[in-house]
Amino acid sequence: MEALLIEPTKNSPSIHFDPVTGKFSISGKSISENTPKFYQPVFDWLENYGKEAAKETRLSVQLDYFNTSSAKVLLDLFKRFEKLANTDVEIEWFYNEDDEDMQEAGENYQSISKVKFTIKSIQ
């Protein structure tokens, strides 16, 4: 299957999911007015990926800012990743070392994650 590539905009993040290497990344800002609409293709793609996943799936998330509806969709997204069969899932959350809010958000997700969820600070 083809990789999922969504270019970033000023309101939405860049999405790059590679089904062959299993390397997935979400980065930028997630502040769309209509978040479900933006993320729907991502969920649809994951549905297909789940049928023939790579051996390892590494999702790295590096967001500068996200609104409440994005926080909710991210939660659903992480849960969806947890449910992927036949693949070893790991989620990495990156935050700017000065950004307490992002750090806290990562910790929140980590506390409920059923797969390996690491939090890393960057300069």
Binding site: I31, E33, P36, Y39, Q40, F43, D44, L46, E47, D64, Y65, N67, T68, S69, A71, K72, V73, L75, D76, L77, K79, R80, K83, D98, D99, E100, D101, E104, N108, Y109, S111, I112
Partner: protein
Amino acid sequence: MKTEIAYIVLFLLSILVFYLLKKVFDSRTKIEEFSKLLEEGQGKVEQAKSLIASEEELKRAKKKLEEKNKKLWAMSEAVHKEKQKVDEQNEKLVIEKEKLEVDKKKLDEKVKKLWQTSTAVHKEKERINELKNSVEEKHQSIVDSVTYAKRIQDAILPTLEEMESNLPDSFVLFKPRDIVSGDFYWFASQPGYCILACCDCTGHGVPGAFMSMIGNTLINQIVLQKGIKNPEIILTELDKEINISLKQIEQPIAENGMNVAPSDGMDVALVCLESTSDGRKILHFAGANRPLYLVRNKELLEYKSAKVGIGGFSYTEEPKKFIMHDIPLEKGDSIYLSTDGYADQFNKEEKKLMTKKFKEVLIKIHALPASEQKEYLDRFISEWKEEEKQTDDICVIGFSV
């Protein structure tokens, strides 16, 4: 007989004389002819002489002519070469001319097309202008409508007088991102206590403002009608009521895992400031995803809240528990409630202000009079964001005791 011989001799003599005369005559004629010839010959000699002379002249002339001829030949060759050049140029010019004619034809066609395009563009321009006017009208109509709605939102917010009469040294920095705001604040005073809430509804603009209306009404009900003053209980009730209002209890999960029900709700910082009979002040605080900052003696104390919002979604499926803090206050304490809009403001380098900096500012200004604090915060965030758009609704409330 002698006479006959005489006659014969005379005859012979006469013949002889005749012959001699003839001869003489002939000779004379011949001499004449001869002298004629001689004359002629002389004449011819003269002629020949003059001919020779003229022949020499001719020779000279011929030489001159030859020279001239050579020159003419050279000139003729040069002219011939020139002519060749001119002929070649001429040929080229003919080809050029043909090309130009072809080009001209093409140009004419292009001009025709351009003209057609220009007419079409002009029509489009008119059409677009009409659309633009129509869109501007509609936009203006929406802006007018929302501006009017702002008056309604402003009407439900606490008045300055209300707040100042109970919290004399207080300020509210309220900056909606759009015309109406998803942030709102609530205040009521009762004998012995007053309740102050700073709320951030999901979304901003019109949907956020709708939520703010619902939130405002619900807090009215809970605090004023039901008389509840315990922040933790207020929030629990608020959460329950919002879920009922927005029917969020049963949230459908879409096939592929995305929860499509609305996730609307709000983050709240709510305090109950209690004045005891012996003059002490106690601050009871409970928050939904929002902290409380207390600056005392230049030191900032942060009181965290549960990581759960009102309504909306939560990270866990456990029942929501709001954490309560009971804080005895000292004279000079400055208390701050805020939504995340201030710290989340981006500057033109795409950097967020961040909570850390916000706290630093609060420490810096806490001893100033309330109105000056408000001014400082307002100016600070304007300078930080410069020409950047405001990221979210901003609401910062501060008061001192």
